[in-house]
Structures are given as C-alpha cells and as structure tokens.
Symmetry: none
Subunit: 200 residues, 4 copies
C-alpha cells in the first residue's frame, strides 16, 4: 500500500474524493466508487475518514482555510488597487490550478447538513469579507467608482471563480496571462482605468 511518493493513504482518499465529487457531485458519488478510486475496500475507507459528509467537510475546510490564510496576507498591502489585484491573482490562480477542489467547495455547499454548512459558510464569509474590505477601502481611498461595493464583490467573485470551469493549461492562455487578464478586468469593473494592468 505504501506509495513510491510520500503520499499518505489518507491523502489518497481525499484526492480520490476530490476528483469524484468534482466530476459527479457529492450525491452522485458512492462510497464504493470512492473506495475503488482510492484502492481500498469500502470498509477500509472508514479508517481514513469519518462519514462521507465529514470527508466533504474536510476537503472544504482545507481548501477554504488555505485560501483564507493566503488572502489574509494581502492585508499587508497598503494600496487598495494592489490589494484587489492580489486577491484576484490569488483567487484566479487557485481556481485555475485546482479546479476540482474549488468547484467542490463552490458547488456542494448545499449538500451539507445545517451544522456542517454553518462551519463552511463561516469560512467563506470571512474570505469574502476580505474582498468586501478591499473594495470598501478602494472606494474610500483608491478611486474605485462603484455604485454598490457588495454587488461588485459578488460580480467579481463569480467572474473569477468561473475560471475553474473552463481554463486548462493547454489553451492559449497560460496561468500568468490568465491572472493578469482577470486583474485587468477586475480593475475595469471597479472603474479604475487600467493603470496597473496597462503595464503588461
């Protein structure tokens, strides 16, 4: 069972779950499919996870806390435009390079029971609050021209999350170009003439 790579069995289970949840959805994925994809019997699976729901929560928690931690680091940036660009860059890169993970987080929240959902939504809200703060700050001192920062926040996030549904490394745009492009779009959305992006 020990892999040549240092991959833990538990990690293999999470990876398998990620792939299947992303492809067929949480409810569309059976415990036996999970087990087969992980190279275990369905009974053995339960040594590496709690319930199926706890597995989903674990995936979501890991993904969101990682994203949240990275996003919190952008708070150091003083310039609101820099902050926004940094958030977009982080979000787009994360969604493009880990599309399964992000799609599961984005799409399967409703599959959770109330208590589990509460925990996940709290994390997501904290993450979105960082965007909201950046936008508010941009309006206050960064020259952002927006009617409603919260509407723009939602528009921005949906727009950026979308890359997880279509971007592939094989296409015309590489990851750097993608991130740049979305940063430029974001600045346009907040009504800033593309100062930053124009440099590219």
């Amino acid at each position: 069972m020990s892999q040549t790579t240092g991959e833990t069995t538990g990690e293999r289970v999470q990876a398998a779950a990620l792939a299947l949840f992303a492809e067929r959805g949480y409810h569309g994925t059976g415990i036996r499919q999970l087990a087969e994809a992980a190279g275990l019997s369905s009974a053995s699976l339960y040594h590496y996870m709690g319930t199926k729901e706890e597995l989903l929560v674990a995936i979501m928690r890991a993904s969101l806390t990682e994203l949240l931690d990275a996003a919190e680091a952008t708070a150091d940036l003083d310039d609101p435009q820099d902050r926004l660009v940094a958030l977009v860059d982080l979000h787009v890169r994360t969604h493009a390079s880990a599309p399964e993970r992000t799609r599961v987080v984005d799409d399967e929240v409703n599959a959770l029971s109330a208590p589990a959902r509460a925990e996940v939504v709290t994390l997501r809200d904290r993450y979105e609050a960082l965007w909201q703060a950046a936008l508010d700050d941009g309006v206050a001192r960064g020259g952002f021209q927006v009617r409603s920062a919260s509407v723009v926040r939602r528009a921005l996030l949906e727009m950026c999350s979308g890359v997880a549904r279509w971007w592939t490394p094989d296409g015309d745009l590489d990851l750097d170009a993608l991130a740049e492009e979305y940063a430029a779009l974001a600045l346009r959305l907040v009504g800033v003439s593309a100062r930053h992006a124009a440099a590219q």
Copy 2:
C-alpha cells in the same frame, strides 16, 4: 384535481421539481420527495413525467429554449453596445427572477447522461454563441477593448449568472436597478465607458 389556480398537475410537478432540484440538487432529490412536494404518490408522478432524468431535461430545455429565443431577438439591434446591453439585461433579469430554474440549468448539466447532456449543451452553446457574436461585433465595430473576446464572454456570463445565487426582490436593488447595474458593469468589462447603459 381541479386547482383553485389554473395550474395543471403537470405544471405542479415541474414546479416542485424545480424547487427541489435547486435546493438539494438533482441527485439529492428523491422521487418520493418530488411526489410529496407535488401532492401525489410516487406512482402517480409517472403519469406526468418520463424518468426523473427526462423531467430534468424538460426543465432545462424549456428554460434554455425560452432564453435562446429571447436572445435571438436581440440580433435585430444594430449597435453592438445595444446588443450587449440587451443580452445582459435579458440574462440578468431571467436569472434574478427565475433563480431556481437558472441554477438548475447551470448546475446540473453534469448530472445528465451523455445523450441528454448533448442536447442541453447544444442549446447552451447556441446561446453562448450569440454572446460571442455580440462581443466579436463589438470589437470589430463597437469600440470594445478586449484582449480575448472568449475570455470576456466567459467572465461576463459567470458574472451575470451569479445573480441567481444572491439577488432577492426584498433587497436594496430592485430588478430594474439590478439589470442597469450589470449592464454598466458589462460595458466596463468590454472597455466602453458607461455611456449607453443609462438610456436603458
């Protein structure tokens, strides 16, 4: 059998399916829940639908063809900005006022079997082609400033579809204001200063 409203039983079934599929997902919704929500036994349900999947396809087809028909009407507009604004207006209003329907269409495509998915994806592709054409036209003759029209198309669509996930009629923004706001955002995204949108 006879309802106070003129609502058909078949319509009641579709309405129930819409609500449940949107709330819990296709795979998360059981036939018995469907039946209960429609006020029928699970056996009776099958007088008003084919399989569960056919019910989903029927919902998707109705939604997409309606949207597609309305979108095709925008082809009359000569000015590319007008066309884009009309598409955004249509898309946003549709998603905001029928959020369950649009969320089901957007989120449950992977739940379909290959042949059913093919039909639905064809419709969706035809719809998106209208957006692509509008963008291409805008680049050619409407002053749109975009590096990649197809990237912007995806960004725009994700952004606009997002309203189905948060907008409610009870909030600060009414439907007209929402549509206007998104039209303005769209024009910004394509690099046009928001001249036109106000006319809407």
Copy 3:
C-alpha cells in the same frame, strides 16, 4: 373499434394475451403490454376481462375443453390402435397449429393460484385419463407391449406436446406428415409393429 373482420374486442384481448403469455410468460407480461397489444388502454382492458389471472384461466379453459371435447369423440373408435392414433393425431395437430395456446396451457399452470390451478388441472387430468384409458385398452386387447402404461402415457404426451416448441409450417414436414410421423412413433412406443403407419 369494430374490426372489418367479425373479431370481437374480447377475442382480440385473448389473442393478444395468448401471444404475449406465450412469448414472455404470464409473469413476464404486464397489463399495459397487454393493453397496447390489444389496442386499448389498460383501464379499458378491464371491460373485457376479470383479473389478469382470470384471463389466463379463460384461455386455458377454452383450450383444454376444446381439446377434451375432441378427444372424447375418439372414444367411439373401437380399435385401440385406432384410438391411440386418433389421440396422437389430434394432440399433435393441435399443438403444431396452435403452439402459443398449447404452450401457455402447458407452461403456465404453476402461475395459477391454488383454486384456479385446481380447475385447470382437473380438465387436464380428464384429458390424460382418455389417453390412459386408450393405453390400458390397448394393453388389454390391442397388443400393446408396455411395462407401465402410465409411464408410457407420460412419455407419449411429453413427446407429442413438444412439437409446439419447434414445428413450423415452413419446414420440411407439413402438418399431415408431422401427424403421421408421430402416430408411427407412438405405435413404436407401445410396442406395436408399425402396421398402421406402414401404409403411408
């Protein structure tokens, strides 16, 4: 609904049932298939039949009483060999020319509930008793050479009923030749040198 031929709707139902029961078995045939084959709705079917089981019993009763009546007519024949040949001729012709009907009678007896089965088995027993009597008579006065008349009765009946499973009018043997051949085989089975059959 009235046919150009004088065929009654009730007859059409029986004919459809015959074909389907023979092809897929009683338990393998659904009421809706029956209705479709008869050109009726499943509800309308119930104007022409009782329960599904009663329909089966009706088919069996009609088939068996007809066969029984014809077989009883052979009792007139004095010569045991003539009687046996007449029974074989009747049985083989009936099974060859109405294979569906006879297969249903032969194969679906176990599908009946106890009371229905009792009625059918009674008819069948009366029919087989005529064979037994013919054999007993043949042993007593017809020169039949058999160790056990009842064993031979069963062997004969199974052998003759079998034609319903393979004979078709398109093959090498026409109905007359088939009947003759089986009469000859029957005489051999009872140990009579093929006097009768030899004439052919």
Copy 4:
C-alpha cells in the same frame, strides 16, 4: 455464518434460487423471496450474486456444462445403440434426480435477455448436437430405422426431459428402473428391438 453442513452461503443462495425458480418461475420469484429463502437480507444477497439474471445464467451454465461434459464422455462408445442408451441413461437420471435444476434450464430460457440467452442456447445446442450425431450414426451403422433423425431427436429429448415433471423416488419405479425403461423406449423409437437395453 458457519453452517453445520459444509454448505457455502453462495451455494445456499443458488439452492434457494433453484427451488424458487422451479416452483414459481424466474419472473414469478422476487428478490425478497430469494433472500428470505437463503436466510439473508435482500441487500446481502448481492454479495453472492450479480444480478438476478446472472444468478439464473449461473445455474443454467453449471447445469448444462455438467451435462455436456458427461455427454461428451459417451462419444467413446463405438456402438451407436450403446451411445444412444448412454445418452438416454444420462439424461433421464439427471432429469429425475435434479428435476428443479433441469426444469429451470428447460423452462426459463425465454426469460433471459438476448446475450445471456445466446450463451445458454449455444451450450444446449452443443448438447443436442451430440444426440443428433448419435442418431445419425445409428442410422448409418446401427440399424436405426427413422424417417427423420432430427424429428426423432426432438421427440426423444422431450420425452426424456419429461421425467423431471413427474418422477419421484417414492413411486413404483426407482431410478435404475426408470432409466432402463426409457432406454428401452428410446430403442423402440429408433426402430431397434430392445435387445441391448437389458445389458445396461
């Protein structure tokens, strides 16, 4: 789990299926009845079988291959009469002592889907080809007097299979006597005076 006898659970399932399929037919037997007869829950049943149809096929395959193997052993016999007698002996003993198994094989072929039926029919055809060969050989060199060997083959097989429908060890005839009797009848059918059979 551990039985007093050495019987496997899987064998218990097959035995239960055999009994029920023989008594009520394949379509007349439900999975829940099967489970109850095997002493399992219906879910547990699926540890020991594939689908219900695969269970039926497994039964048929086992039965037919066993019979076929045994029948092929008779090819060693040079004398056509010996061969025929050996085949009858085998067939009758098998059908008399395993009537459920043989009745299921004989009666439920139509319950199979096309691909499953193809496999079973192939085995049955190979078995019947051995009979045909024996009869052809008997006509060529064994003094068999038959108009059509294929008609006689069918008559013989139906006749011999019939014992599965009536013979019981409690009756007048024990298994040896039954086999002998049918061997004698078979020789009569092919027009050979019953010289050999006694030697058996």
